[in-house]
Amino acid sequence: MDVNTIAWLILLLPLASAAVILLGTKKSAGISALISTGSVIATLVLSFLLLAQPDTAAAKPLQWLSLGDFEVTIGLKLDSLAQGMMIIVTGIGTLVHVFSLGYMHDDAGKARFFAGLSQFMFSMTGIVLADNFAMMFIFWELVGVSSYILIGHWYDKDSAADAAKKAFLVNRIGDFGFMIGILLVWVLTGSIYFDEIAKAIGGVQNANLLNAAVLLVFCGAVGKSAQLPLHVWLPDAMEGPTPVSALIHAATMVAAGVYMLARVSFLVGAAEMAADTIAIIGGATALLAALMATQQNDIKRVLAYSTLSQLGYMIMAQGLHDGSDAGMFHLYTHAWFKALLFLGSGAVIFACHHEQDIWKMGGLRQKMPITFWTFLIGTAALIAVPGTSGFWSKEAILEAAWHDHNYLVWGLGIAVAFLTPFYMTRLFVVAFLGKPRTKDADHAHEVSPIMWVPLAILAVMAVISAYITGPLEAKGHVAFHMSLTAILSLAGLVVGVLAGWKLYAGCDRDPVNIKLFANKFYLDELYLGIVRLFQDFVGMTFDAVDRYLIEPITVRLPALAAMSSGYVLRLLQVGNLQAYGFLFGLGAVVLIWLIVF
């Protein structure tokens, strides 16, 4: 197969799958699931074929819009960055699909679910392969919709419906900035194509506008990768089915922001002020999310905040000088172990009859040994135990921060290195060790092979992915130097795990109670207030202005004028023939007078 066929098949197979399910096989859920899973396995195979392509590969573009000089094409860029990302997306996609076959087996909306997954795979592939900003924006929006559909899969639950809406709207706010950023980049460089922008970026004179443009483009990443201050949608997005959380809200879609920044790293590199801002926002997100994670009780929420925190790392890396590769490296390793953790939590939740509160679990080690061990491996990778993949990629980021002399960002990163082991130990100890605290936990038993096999594969990947960096082409290195950074992060690991063990081993209730963290710094409440203010107060005010000011001026006033003049004129209609005659005669006289003299 030539490169065109491969690339286009990768993009279009999932779309075809979604279309077939929507139009044809909606009624038969089993077939739909198989179609969807088949399509994603096919794309995985194709993605491996794609790895053989050179870095400069590209598929023949398809014209979408063309107006003279202004042209938007759907072109597929198949460089090593895209190739590596495709392996992540389709690899985890495949495992999640397979896992879902078990997890969603009895769900009423199974066909809809798999159609949504396929649509997501299509959209995500579009982002990865996009060769220009407009196309990226198109698929950027489409993943937003997929996310909306999948979060709201159980739409008859109020919380799920609200979470879906929230996710979409928050992302829209990010996209608002993203679109302006794209427009500004277009104005500055005269192109929306990454290759041409890279060529033209050197000639851009207007540094302020460039900084603004990059920051606005970064807004898109802030929305999609859930950075401060638009992070609020991601924890709520956990209302979606757990496979969705694993695929979309941990491994791939939320990483799209990181990917996009890596894709335009030349832009970020050219705008210093913007790059610093990006790094700081990433670091701050990493720290705040880690703090919030320490006080969550919902197993998926803990993982969600840890995702936020890790995404903060990646974004931070994108803002660092020479940090883009490290960021992508972490994206790559993180995708595997975070998907593992989410699917593991999914297995736990499935086994505990959809119980998500870790304080109602416990003692799962004996009930679900496979899940237990895979989850342990995932946790180890996340808290960066030396040897696991997470260790190498995190070190790379922290080292990059150190070498960039960006000590503020470095400090943030180190602080997170202390917190991550702590809250993950808490989660692990409370959920898996000790004694079952509820009947559901007591009755839990191991999940079926169709669910634990993906877990096992992911567990293997969680350890070894750092050593097979083939897909990333030299973006990740397994290299260790004894340095202050390394010492501190190892210290963080030890301190964090020990503190977590000491505090939580054998506890039935949370001994620590920090309201500020548990309530996520009250940011949700703040935003809710702002939204209320806008929706209800400003909206109502303008509604009132419209109703009681503009409508009276444009409708009532002319109506009143017409009616009152009509009333005045009506007084003349006395109904007396001679009065009319008089007026007529008078009019005639006056007219003649005016005309003749």
């Binding site: 001679q578 009065a579 008089f582 005669g585 008078l586 006289v589 006056v590 003649i592 007078w593 003749v596 003299f597």
Partner: protein, 168 residues
């Protein structure tokens, strides 16, 4: 001639005033006939014998008879109480006065109107106005004549319909 003009003009005007001032419609009608007679005389003074005759025959003869006939038919008594309303009188004075003022102002500056009335001479005196008008009516104006005939027919039918039906 001049003397006769003033006599007939006065006749016409006084007749007119009589129409307006008489309380009894029947008297008004008779005043009207007087006025028309004066007018007809003025026409004849202007060498318009045919229309003068027509004025007497049609207006004074037919139309006024019709008026009288209706007045009798409806058995209308003279108006009772105060004859003229204050407002209507004032209005009439204003409008009619204004009209008179305009006429006076126009005539004062109307130089073509200073042309004196001289008797017809030569060929003009030979042809009678009846033949001249007749010739015009049945050549140049033959179509309007037809139309007028049609109009009269329609009016006749209309009158019949109107007087037959009860008006609500």
């Amino acid at each position: 001639m001049t003397f006769l003009f003033y006599i007939f003009a006065a006749l016409a005007i006084v007749g007119g005033i009589g129409v307006v001032l008489n309380r009894n419609p029947v008297s008004s009608a008779f005043a009207m006939i007087v006025s028309f007679l004066g007018l007809a005389a003025l026409y004849i003074q202007l060498d318009a014998y045919l229309v003068g005759t027509l004025q007497i025959l049609v207006y004074a003869g037919a139309i006024m008879v019709l008026f009288l006939f209706i007045i009798m038919l409806l058995d209308i008594k003279s108006e009772e109480g105060r004859q003229f309303g204050v407002f209507s009188t004032a209005g009439a004075v204003v409008v009619a006065g204004g009209m008179l003022l305009i006429v006076a102002k126009v005539l004062k500056n109307f130089e073509a109107g200073e042309k004196a009335l001289t008797p017809l001479k030569g060929a003009a005196a030979e042809t009678t106005d009846v033949s001249a008008i007749g010739e015009l009516l049945f050549t140049t104006y033959w179509f309007p004549v037809q139309v007028i005939g049609m109009l009269l027919l329609v009016a006749t039918v209309g009158v019949v319909v109107l007087s037959k039906r009860e008006l609500r």
